[in-house]
């Protein structure tokens, strides 16, 4: 043994005053599938953390070699005992084992030292970079802020995605659902939003928390790598409850993410939390509830499945100035089956959130990415947070696109259409092209405004549809190089003044003259 450890032990022994106090205990009567039935613990409270006493009957050296303490979480209080879930390896629990009450509810660590780190649903670091030195413990379950403590959403949260920032704007403190079938780009939108926050000044940049629930470890590793490469990991915390984790940890992970975020919100900072995804959390909770023998309801989900999501998402808010003015924005993700948004869990979460971004497989397969269905997507509070500049250029965009989608059905009879309808369809097609965006390439707010200004002023009318994306990119680069002052002015003022309009018109003219070959519909 290391001599320093021996010295430490000698010191500890010399100063040790043995204390024997009474502890409240119970005994495991049944164990299986991550859930234990415990006889006793009559004074225990809901969501209390318990400790399984593994050392009993073991020799000192064996007890010392136990790597970690095994915790449990009380989830059912019954007439003659309690039921709890095991927050770790079920195989370590045996019948007859003594269980100690801690008198504490579940807490997770939070603080600046968590930034750039990956933790599990209990807040324990799992990235191999060592333990946290001085974290602040936050309760996993906390009552959401009340009416008096809140204020309206008024500051935009820029996602860097043109289609969202222009038509479905999100405000800081809002809850915006991202919903769609598998492989339609839900996670991509969330990750692009995190990446885009690097365009924000450091003092206004939201702390980002990505909660992976029931995801493949390879996917989470890829996301971490992407965030690191883009320089976004330094302001991001990843809470990982993979598919291999026990159902309890998958159920707890979003609450842990919210608790970590609340620490920063209480400090007056803005926080963005992504729950990827709540469908898997609902499935984990259903599994846990059935094992706890709670009565099953619709689709075998327990009766409190709505409350599970509402109490989580209610924690997203914008605090009043008296409370520091911090905010917690929630972007929950829900996976649908065959585009069925009227299923049980999707309708629940749609009704809880302040809007939804609906992604369609058909659009995705047509190459429209992000595959946002403008008709079904809505942001209920975000428009009040949208900047005047964006409002002025994108005010009618949603309506125009919705009309285009209706007219799209007639496109096969193009020769029979009157000129006005044909022009509207052509304009809609070009607008769809303008709104297309590659993943991992969020665009700054001011550049979005400039591009949309150009698009709504028939800048792309003479460009072949297949070339719109290319021309748009070149125009954006041109603005960056030749009109950076105009862009920074839009960013600074948040409005498109008459002078700025003239500047943008001039830029469009200059670009057209310099690249005349691009402006031919052939």
């Amino acid at each position: 043994m290391d001599s320093s450890i021996v010295e430490k032990i000698v010191k500890e022994i010399e100063g040790y005053a043995p204390k024997a106090h009474s502890e409240h205990v119970g005994r495991v009567t049944a164990v299986g599938d991550g859930v234990v039935a415990i006889d006793g613990l009559s004074k225990a409270v809901m969501s209390e953390v318990i400790i399984f006493e593994e050392g009993k009957g073991k020799k000192l050296e064996d007890a010392m070699s136990e790597s970690t303490v095994l915790y449990g979480l009380i989830l059912n209080l019954e007439e003659d005992g309690v039921r709890a879930s095991i927050l770790g390896d079920t195989a370590r629990v045996v019948e007859g084992m003594t269980v100690k009450s801690t008198g504490k509810i579940l807490m997770v660590p939070s603080g600046d030292e968590l930034l750039g780190r990956v933790v599990n649903a209990l807040g324990e670091p799992i990235d191999g970079r060592g333990p946290f030195k001085n974290p602040t413990m936050m309760p996993v379950e906390r009552q959401a802020s009340g009416v008096i403590d809140r204020k309206s959403v008024s500051v935009p949260l820029q996602t860097g995605i043109k289609a969202i920032d222009s038509m479905i704007p999100i405000g800081r403190g809002q809850r915006e659902l991202i919903i769609g079938d598998r492989s339609t780009g839900k996670t991509t939108i969330a990750i692009d939003t995190i990446i885009n926050q690097k365009n924000e000044p450091a003092e206004k940049r939201p702390i980002c928390i990505y909660v992976a629930i029931g995801q493949k470890e390879s996917k989470t590793a890829r996301i971490m790598q992407q965030l690191r490469e883009q320089g976004a990991l330094e302001y991001t915390i990843i809470v990982d409850a993979p598919a291999s984790a026990p159902a309890t940890l998958q159920y707890l992970a979003p609450f842990a993410g919210a608790a970590i975020g609340e620490y920063f919100m209480d400090q007056g900072k803005d926080v963005l939390v992504i729950y990827d995804d709540l469908s898997k959390q609902a499935v984990a909770y259903r599994q846990l509830s059935l094992l706890l023998r709670r009565p099953p309801g619709r689709e075998a989900y327990p009766g409190d499945i709505f409350y599970l999501h509402s109490r989580l998402l209610e924690r997203a808010c914008r605090l009043s100035d008296e409370k520091g003015g911090g905010s917690l924005t929630a972007l929950p993700i829900i996976e649908t089956l065959e585009g069925d948004i009227s299923a049980y869990i999707p309708t629940n979460v749609i009704s809880i959130t302040d809007g939804q971004i609906f992604l369609m497989t058909d659009l995705f397969n047509k190459g429209v990415r992000p595959a946002i269905d403008v008709g079904l997507s809505v942001s209920r509070v975000g428009s009040s947070a949208q900047t005047k500049a964006m409002k002025s250029v994108a005010g009618t965009l949603k309506l125009e696109l919705a009309q285009f989608r209706e007219l799209e059905a007639f496109m096969q009879f193009a020769q029979d259409l009157d000129k006005a309808t044909a022009d509207r369809i052509a304009s809609g097609q070009r607008m769809v092209e303008v709104l297309k965006q590659k993943n991992g390439e969020p665009i700054s707010f001011e550049k979005q405004v400039a591009i949309l200004y150009a698009a709504t002023h028939a800048f792309f009318a003479d460009v072949a549809i297949a070339k719109v994306t290319e021309v748009e990119k070149q125009f954006a680069d041109y603005l960056d190089g030749q009109h950076s002052k105009t862009l920074s002015e839009i960013k600074k003022s948040g409005v498109v003044s008459e002078d700025l309009k003239k500047e943008l018109n001039r830029a469009m003219e200059e670009f057209k003259l310099a690249h005349a070959e691009l402006f031919t519909t052939k």
């Binding site: 502890e23 205990v25 003659d80």
Partner: protein, 87 residues
């Protein structure tokens, strides 16, 4: 009827287990001292307490029953010291 009888048997067994108080000591010679320490000076009533000998405690005693546990074993203290020293 047999099921009801079984259920009563189970209830009785559970109540008995709950009422049981176990004093665990590391070796037989420590019983008297452990009883005195556990009762805070006065002797614990012999008939209600089951005494177990478990050498893994190393020394001291452990009193468990009726949803309470008092662990005054040397093992527990040594583990606490080890945890404090290696944390």
């Amino acid at each position: 009827m047999p099921r009801i009888a079984k259920a009563f048997e189970r209830l009785a067994a559970r109540e008995e287990a709950r009422a049981k108080i176990t004093l665990t000591i590391a070796n037989q010679q420590d019983e008297q001292r452990a009883r005195q320490e556990a009762s805070g000076g006065s002797d614990l009533p012999k008939q209600r307490i089951e005494v177990e000998v478990n050498p893994t405690l190393i020394g001291g005693w452990r009193l468990e029953g009726q949803e309470s546990l008092i662990d005054a074993s040397y093992k527990k203290h040594l583990l606490a010291i080890y945890t404090a020293a290696t944390a």
